[in-house]
């Protein structure tokens, strides 16, 4: 019998959407081996989330009440470890997240489980559990297996699996977590300050121009374009060195990264090491460059091989 156990995660009263996606993955696995899908709702008030997680395919919801209102690594680790030791699932799924980065490896070590992280595919091949994840900065994929491990813990990548859409009617049980005092102490949450838009390190949407812009007089039309897109304007070194834009707009200033940025449009930027250092972690990079071999195209999610002025002109026309 190969049961699949999904562990929930929440922050300040909001459940992570990846939990339901993990349930979707659990269903597929459970079907392959005729196992049950168990979902552990973990927190100081687990029953609040039970209805949300009573999805089609879930056989049992296990409410695990903890003596901590928010995530604490030791408490979560010991509770989940105790639950695994009691129910002995074949596979344990957690969202790949900041929280699971904080406790899943410790859990795996303590329980001597099979373990890997950030998987976007999982299946059985015969009796072997096989998990797929990326390698070499998404350039390759690997399949991993877990010889000799009767329980495997996996953290799953958000957006890789489909959450069940319909509701189900699982049974609901409770599990008493061991009483534990966490060793670290939560002091406070600090919300980000509202940025004046002048701080690129806080900007979520950035349009950046590079030496393709060629002339100071061409800069203003890209400022206008950024305003029309409601993006902050950034630039590469030569632009700021020439005084065409102020230094705070330079991306890749030594050590500073545009860490809050979600979408980065790079126009006429080839992708020097200095510039890439500042923006390569942005999840959605759109690069526009005349040169199909420009190195920025290899880190971009979307690329346009073309003239930045033509594209800017078209964007401007279509945005008004």
């Amino acid at each position: 019998m190969a049961d699949i156990l999904v562990i929930s995660e929440q922050r300040r009263g909001v459940l992570s959407p990846v939990v339901s996606e993990a349930i979707g993955a659990a269903r597929e696995l459970a079907a392959q081996k005729s196992g049950k899908v168990l979902v552990a709702v973990v927190g100081n008030d687990p029953s609040a989330f039970t209805p949300q997680l009573s999805l089609a395919g879930v056989d049992e919801i296990i409410e695990v009440a903890l003596n901590t209102p928010e995530f604490q690594s030791d408490i979560y680790e010991e509770a989940v470890l105790a639950l695994i030791n009691e129910r002995k699932p074949a596979v344990v799924l957690l969202p790949h997240s900041i929280d699971s980065l904080g406790y899943a490896p410790a859990l795996a070590v303590k329980g001597n489980f099979g373990f890997t992280t950030d998987v976007f595919g999982v299946r059985y091949e015969g009796d072997d559990l096989v998990a797929a994840r990326q390698a070499y900065q998404e350039k390759a994929h690997v399949e991993l297996d877990f010889p000799g491990k009767s329980t495997v813990v996996l953290t799953v990548r958000g957006g890789s699996f489909k959450a069940p859409e319909e509701a189900g009617s699982p049974s609901v049980t409770a599990f008493a977590a061991p009483a534990t005092a966490g060793r670290t102490t939560h002091v406070a949450f600090h919300d980000p300050e509202a940025s004046a838009g002048e701080d690129l390190t806080a900007a979520e949407f950035i349009l950046s121009i590079g030496r393709g812009v060629a002339d100071e007089d061409n800069v203003a039309q890209f400022e206008e374009l950024a305003a029309a897109l409601n993006f902050s304007l950034g630039c590469s070194r030569p632009i700021a060195d020439n005084g065409w834009l102020p230094k705070y707009r330079q991306v890749g200033q030594s050590g500073k990264t545009v860490s809050a940025c979600k979408v980065y449009i790079a126009m006429g930027i080839s992708g020097s090491v200095q510039h890439l250092a500042g923006m390569k972690h942005v999840p959605n990079i759109i690069a526009i460059n005349k040169d199909p071999e420009a190195s920025i195209l290899s880190v971009a999610r979307y690329g346009i091989v073309g003239d930045m002025f033509e594209i800017a002109n078209e964007l401007r026309s279509q945005l008004s």
């Binding site: 590079g210 030496r211 393709g212 812009v213 060629a214 002339d215 100071e216 007089d217 061409n218 203003a220 039309q221 400022e223 206008e224 305003a227 590469s236 070194r237 030569p238 632009i239 700021a240 060195d241 020439n242 005084g243 102020p246 230094k247 330079q250 200033q253 030594s254 006429g268 930027i269 080839s270 020097s272 090491v273 200095q274 510039h275 005349k290 040169d291 199909p292 071999e293 190195s295 003239d307 002025f309 033509e310 002109n313 401007r316 026309s317 279509q318 008004s320």
Partner: protein, 490 residues
């Protein structure tokens, strides 16, 4: 560097070279010296792969790699923008890998005969490569046209060699693809008959592309200036003779007014009206416009928007008394606009003696009239980008350059070796720098005529701006004779 000096360097290395320096010297080395360098450069398969993929690899090395006829290298070589045509021919002779053939089809250095020899009939990616390759001859475009996709045809419609007849054909096969038709209309070789059809088109995109065509008639522009769609009017406003502009009152779309404010041939009464426009972008464009008279600039220099005031500071025709006023502006970005000007004198730069803002300091650091004692201070600034402004200053004294050669930020040292006054012995020292980009650049500078070549390379890479059809303004970068523009790759 003369050959004898290169020979000296080679023998001084006792057989183990800094490979980045070796790569830079390869180009000027003779055959015998090249063999010695290649023994180090090409020692392992990994090293060979790296050179084939590195963007700054000189053509002579790419050529040497192509002569090895190694299949793994050839894909990288076929994609490398600097691989010479003769090497591409050689690669074709030994390759049948579809990826390599597609790369050859797209390579701008591929000779016409190579392109004709490609098996374009069997492989769609080859046709796509050809359609977008500026080196593809016109007759070959005609030949492949029947089997191309719509995407390929769009590339063809923008092809530099496309003539009226090809464009006519493309218009006909476009059917209801308005985007392809739009590209045909935008092409300056578009036949007059199609231009006339475009004027009467009920598709706004096509009328807009007509307004953008370099050869559109004045009459058509005047008609398009009154088009019901604002984007079409804005496009027409770029090129139409300024006499065609009537009262700006009837133009209620800011996008069109902004285009007008950029025109250097704007009539005086229109300038006066736009100077009080409620849209700050209109006023910004006007502030930078060299055709705007002094009294209007004086008014704009007092604008509540800092970007308008900065525009005045950057205006080539800004009178000196206004510059003095703007040098005292409360906004650092406005003051920086003055500090970066290359036409100011010592009296004006003196106003910045105690200014600590990094944008202003960067301008002062780069300025040719800044006293050396100030440069010394700026050269010690905590911010690496501010320090770099001194490195980019053509008048920075040699002793200061020597100090700056110790700068911890590698990119600053790269810029240093490119300085026109960088002493030779300093550059020779930097051949041994820990950072590959620094040693390679130092070596490039030493190679005979290296500095001229580097400047040529800067000019060539900014030939993109020459291709810019949109810019109405010629290069009015104020630093005129200063050949140290855009010195650093970014």
């Amino acid at each position: 560097m003369q050959f004898t000096a290169l020979g000296d360097w080679l023998s001084s290395q006792e057989g183990s070279f800094n490979i980045h320096v070796a790569a830079a010297f390869h180009e000027v080395a003779d055959d015998e010296q090249r063999q010695v360098l290649e023994a180090s450069l090409f020692a392992t398969p990994r090293a060979r792969l790296r050179w084939a993929g590195e963007i700054y690899t000189p053509p002579s090395i790419l050529e040497a790699l192509a002569r090895r006829d190694e299949a793994r290298l050839n894909l990288r070589l076929a994609r490398h923008p600097r691989t010479p045509g003769s090497s591409l021919l050689r690669i074709l002779r030994v390759s049948d890998d579809p990826g390599i053939l597609a790369a050859l089809a797209a390579h701008p250095n591929s000779p016409a005969q190579l392109l004709r020899d490609l098996p374009w009939g069997q492989q769609p990616p080859i046709r796509s490569g050809l359609a977008g390759n500026p080196a593809c001859p016109l007759d070959l475009l005609y030949t492949i046209l029947p089997e191309t996709t719509m995407v390929d045809r769009k590339r063809m419609a923008a092809h530099p060699a496309a003539d009226g007849a090809l464009l006519q054909k493309l218009w006909e096969v476009a059917g209801d693809d308005v985007y392809l038709r739009g590209e045909v209309i935008a092409n300056s070789a578009c036949p007059p008959g199609l231009l006339a059809a475009a004027l009467a088109s009920d598709v706004p995109l096509i009328r807009r592309k007509l307004a953008e065509n370099a050869n559109v008639s004045t009459q058509a522009l005047i008609t398009l200036l009154r088009d019901p769609v604002p984007e079409v009017r804005a496009a027409a406003a770029r090129q139409v003779p300024s006499e065609a502009f009537e009262d700006v009152d009837c133009e209620d779309f800011n996008t069109v007014r902004r285009i007008k404010a950029r025109r250097h041939d704007l009539p005086a009464d229109l300038i006066a009206q736009l100077a009080t426009d409620s849209d700050s972008w209109v006023r910004r464009w006007l502030a930078r416009n060299p055709a705007v008279p002094a009294e209007i600039l004086a008014a704009l220099a007092k604008d509540p928007e800092r970007e308008v005031r900065r525009g005045v500071a950057r205006n080539p025709a800004c009178p000196t008394d206004l510059l003095f006023q703007l040098a005292r502006d409360p906004e650092p970005w406005v003051r920086a606009g003055v500090s970066f000007r290359t036409d100011i004198d010592e009296d004006l730069i003196a106003l910045f003696e105690h200014d600590e803002e990094i944008d202003v300091l960067s301008g002062v650091g780069r300025n040719a009239v800044t006293p050396p004692e100030w440069l010394e201070r700026i050269a010690e600034h905590a911010n690496a980008d501010v320090r770099r402004s001194v490195i980019l200053n053509p008048r920075t004294p040699r002793y200061l350059l020597r100090r700056l050669a110790e700068d911890p930020y590698p990119f600053n040292r790269v810029c240093l070796v490119k300085h026109p006054a960088a002493p030779i012995d300093l550059i020779l020292e930097l051949l041994a720098d820990a950072e590959p980009q620094v040693c390679f650049t130092a070596a490039t500078m030493l190679v005979s005529g290296g500095r001229k070549a580097a400047r040529k390379q800067e000019a060539a890479s900014s030939s993109e701006w020459k291709a810019c059809r949109r810019s109405q303004v010629t290069n009015s970068e104020i630093s005129g004779e200063n050949a140290h523009e855009n010195p650093c790759a970014g």
